[in-house]
Every structure is written in structure tokens, then in C-alpha cells.
């Protein structure tokens, strides 16, 4: 199982706690994890990635294992600790806006 940490507003929207678990078949990448997240919580579809372009929304960032993965290609494998379920894939809302 892959652990995904959600920002507060998405926890409320999906009616979950801070961390959820999703099952990913095949390579564990940003794309496959987010596909699995949206599959389990359809209400989150379009909230992390633009629904048309599938690109990361500009005010969100992706972190794992103390690395900023936001600019990594979506099909690049995530760190082994994420794939093993030891570390969460973190979706972070930028500290911006009023």
C-alpha cells in the first residue's frame, strides 16, 4: 500500500484523515499514485491535477523522503521508501494567498 498525505482542505472534501492508503499496480510514480488516489476518492479528481491537462496545480507541491518532487516527470519512479509504504507521498498546499 502507498501512503498519501493530504492537505487539510482535501481531507475535508474526501472525508478522510490526514493520511490515506491506496493500492498501486505496476510502477509507483506520481501519475500512478494520483490515479489510484482519484480512483479511490473520485471527489479529489481535478483538485490535485488540472482535469484537462493532468498537470500539477500551480499552488500544490509534492514531497517525499525530504525531497521536493514537484518538478519531476510524472512517470518517474517515486523513492523506494514510498513504494514500500515506509514513507508517505505528501501533497502540500503552498503557503500563499489571503
Amino acid at each position: 500500500m502507498i501512503r498519501v498525505m493530504l492537505p487539510a482542505h482535501l481531507r475535508t472534501l474526501a472525508r478522510t484523515g490526514a493520511e490515506v492508503e491506496v493500492e498501486v499496480e505496476g510502477p509507483v510514480t506520481q501519475r500512478s499514485v494520483l490515479d489510484a488516489l482519484e480512483g479511490r476518492y473520485p471527489v479529489l479528481r481535478g483538485t490535485v491535477r488540472d482535469p484537462q491537462t493532468q498537470s500539477r496545480r500551480p499552488f500544490l507541491r509534492f514531497f517525499a523522503c525530504e525531497q521536493d518532487l514537484s518538478l519531476d516527470p510524472p512517470d518517474e519512479p517515486l523513492p523506494g521508501a514510498v513504494a514500500a509504504g515506509a514513507e508517505p507521498f505528501m501533497i502540500i498546499g503552498a503557503l500563499a494567498g489571503g
Binding site: 482542505h9 471527489v43 481535478g46 483538485t47 490535485v48 484537462q52 496545480r57 498546499g93 503552498a94
Partner: protein, 372 residues
């Protein structure tokens, strides 16, 4: 005893304010969707417990919420607003062409004949319809394809379709308004549309007095008993049409400023109209720091200030286009919300006012339901 339920959209959530028919004591519920921008909340006229809300955020995009119990509980509904076909381009601020891009839903208008049908006005301007209670949305492409969509351009607030008015006597006829394209009407249920902007004048930014599109219409209101009479608050000028928008004439009369955003018609008096004059172009607060609703009992031209209970000094809030509504209780109630977070109510047609809440986030929209 019948009552009123006021649905308030703010920059940081939605609030539901409920009172009995006296409209003196109010129960406040909220914030719902705290932290999210709620551009609009509106109930079905056929089923007052069916509410639709537009929830959006610069971080997380667009959500549509639906309630089937009058706002006690909510469930996320469909949020896919995909333009029909190739989206094409419209005019950008610098005169170049710019692709149509979905940004948010400004206005939700439930059908007068079916609680599962609801219309959505979006930015970049287009009209969508759902016939399954907001589960799925489909563009009504005849509007953007009326022939001059490429000449529409954004106003300062974006290129938004903010007004949807349904004709209660003719289900085939509806009106919409876009900043800054103008007003449009369909007479065939939304298949085809035509601009209805004859008589609107925008001399500084639209030198052609016969320009079909490009007008910055802020809001249109109609009394259901007189569906051919429309009142419009334009960027500048308060306008009136008595032929379903074919021709407009100015009725600003003695208003201290003919700029403003909302306009509303009394529930029982089709010639009684309300506006909130605002200083423009850049100030966007009431003239002289006095928050005054102006009422005309003559369908325009002659206006009287309504001040009792409203701040008459040092008031510098704005009242946005979707932030005024009327109930249909025996004595018509008028409501409006401000960017300072107050929602004012008048239970007597505007003669006296009270702030029913003082300190909400900036108010984006106000709707009211008259409860049985």
C-alpha cells in the same frame, strides 16, 4: 409560520441564515466549506431543500456541492465543465486572441420546471446545463457560437457569465449576461442566441454606438409577472427594456452614481426597483462613505435613498453583483451583502434595515428562499 432562508456565499465559505416570517431573529449556520470561495448558492424554486453551491479555490479548483436537506448536509456533485468542441479564442486585454479556459463557476440557476435541471454560468464565459441534479454538465454551445464570441473580452473581474434569468411564462426563453460581452437572449431553449444590447452606450471603450457585443453588463433583473420588462445595472448606467431586451433606455435619473453592481425588483411591485450606487471606476465604495440603497417606485428615473439602519458615515464597502435578493413574503424583504462581511435585511421593502450578521468574510453572493 412561513419564513426566510438566506444563502450567503463568501470568500471563505457559505453561510445559511434562517428566520421566521418576522425576520427579526436569525439563526446562523456555517461556515460550510470553510476556507473555500463560494461564488454562489441557490435553491430550487420547486424543492426548497435542493440547494446548489459553487465552491472554488485557487489551490484546488472547482467543486459543485448539492444539498437535499436545505443546507444541513452537502455532497460533492459533478465538476467537469468541458467546452463543446474546439474551445476557440476570444479577445484578450491587449486586443489579441486568447484561448477559452475554464476558471470557475460564477452563478448557478436552478430550473423553474425541474429540480434536477440547473444552469451554470462560468468563467471564461459559457453556459452549461445539468439535467441530472448537477452530476454531469454539458455546454450550451449556441451561445459562444452566436457569431461574435471572438469579440468578447474580459472585464476587470475576468470574462464571466454571471447572470442567468429564466422567463417563468416561456420555458424556451432565457437571458444571460457576460462581462464584458453584454446581454443575450434565447427563444428556443438555448439552441440559438442573439445579443440584445441595442441602446447600451459605452462611449470610452466602445466607440461604435451600435456595437453588438463588448458591453460590460453587471446584472439583469426581472419581475416574474412582467417577463418582457428587464432592468439592468451596467458598468455605467441603469437601463430598462420593455420589449424583452430588444431595446434599452437609460433610467439612471437622479442616482448619485449610475455605477453599481446588483439590481433587484420588489416581489409584489413590478415597478419598484433597487440599486446600490457605487463610486467608480477604481474606488468601488459608496459615494460619500454612506451606504444607501436607492429605490424607484416608478420603474426607474426617480430614485429615493433608503438609509434607515444603514451606516451613513465612514462606510467603504462594496456590494457585488450577485449579492442582492428579495423574498416573496407578504411584506417583501430585501437583502444584500457587502465586501465588509455584513448582510443587511429589510423586512419592509427597504424602509428600514438591520445587519443580520456583521462579521462574515467578504460576501460574494446573497440569495433568499421564502419558506412555506
Amino acid at each position: 409560520m412561513s419564513g426566510a432562508r438566506v444563502l450567503v456565499g463568501t470568500r471563505k465559505g457559505a453561510f445559511v441564515l434562517t428566520s421566521d416570517g418576522k425576520r427579526e431573529r436569525w439563526e446562523v449556520s456555517g461556515p460550510h466549506f470553510g476556507g473555500w470561495e463560494i461564488y454562489h448558492v441557490k435553491g430550487s424554486p420547486l424543492d426548497p431543500n435542493r440547494l446548489y453551491a459553487s465552491q472554488s479555490s485557487g489551490w484546488f479548483g472547482q467543486i459543485i456541492q448539492r444539498s437535499d436537506d436545505g443546507g444541513k448536509t452537502w455532497a460533492a456533485a459533478g465538476k467537469d465543465f468541458v467546452y463543446e468542441g474546439v474551445p476557440g479564442t476570444h479577445q484578450w486585454y491587449d486586443g489579441t486572441q486568447h484561448p477559452w479556459e475554464f476558471k470557475r463557476v460564477w452563478h448557478l440557476e436552478p430550473s423553474l420546471t425541474d429540480p434536477d435541471t440547473v444552469y451554470a454560468g462560468i468563467e471564461d464565459a459559457a453556459l452549461f446545463r445539468s439535467t441530472d441534479g448537477a452530476a454531469t454538465w454539458h455546454e450550451m454551445p449556441g451561445l459562444r457560437n452566436h457569431g461574435k464570441g471572438h469579440l468578447w473580452q474580459p472585464g476587470a473581474g475576468g470574462m464571466c457569465l454571471h447572470t442567468i434569468v429564466l422567463d417563468p411564462t416561456n420555458p424556451e426563453r432565457m437571458y444571460i449576461a457576460i462581462s464584458a460581452a453584454g446581454a443575450f437572449r434565447t427563444d428556443d431553449g438555448g439552441e440559438t442566441w442573439r445579443p440584445i444590447n441595442q441602446g447600451l452606450k459605452s462611449p470610452y471603450n466602445l466607440p461604435d454606438p451600435d456595437a453588438e457585443v463588448g458591453h460590460c453588463v453587471h446584472r439583469i433583473a426581472m419581475h416574474p409577472a412582467r417577463p418582457n420588462t428587464l432592468f439592468m445595472q451596467k458598468h455605467w448606467d441603469v437601463m430598462r427594456s420593455d420589449d424583452a431586451g430588444d431595446n434599452w433606455r437609460e433610467v439612471s435619473g437622479n442616482l448619485p452614481s449610475d455605477f453599481g453592481f446588483p439590481i433587484a425588483v420588489h416581489a409584489h411591485e413590478p415597478e419598484t426597483v433597487y440599486v446600490v450606487p457605487i463610486k467608480s471606476d477604481s474606488e468601488h465604495y459608496p459615494p460619500d462613505g454612506k451606504l444607501r440603497v436607492y429605490r424607484s417606485r416608478t420603474g426607474g428615473e426617480e430614485w429615493e435613498p433608503l438609509t434607515q439602519g444603514l451606516p451613513q458615515s465612514d462606510c467603504y464597502v462594496n456590494v457585488l453583483r450577485d449579492a442582492m435578493a428579495v423574498d416573496s413574503l407578504d411584506e417583501c424583504g430585501i437583502y444584500f451583502g457587502t465586501t465588509g462581511g455584513q448582510v443587511y435585511a429589510s423586512p419592509d421593502g427597504g424602509d428600514t434595515w438591520n445587519a443580520i450578521v456583521h462579521d462574515l468574510p467578504a460576501v460574494l453572493s446573497v440569495e433568499v428562499q421564502t419558506l412555506p
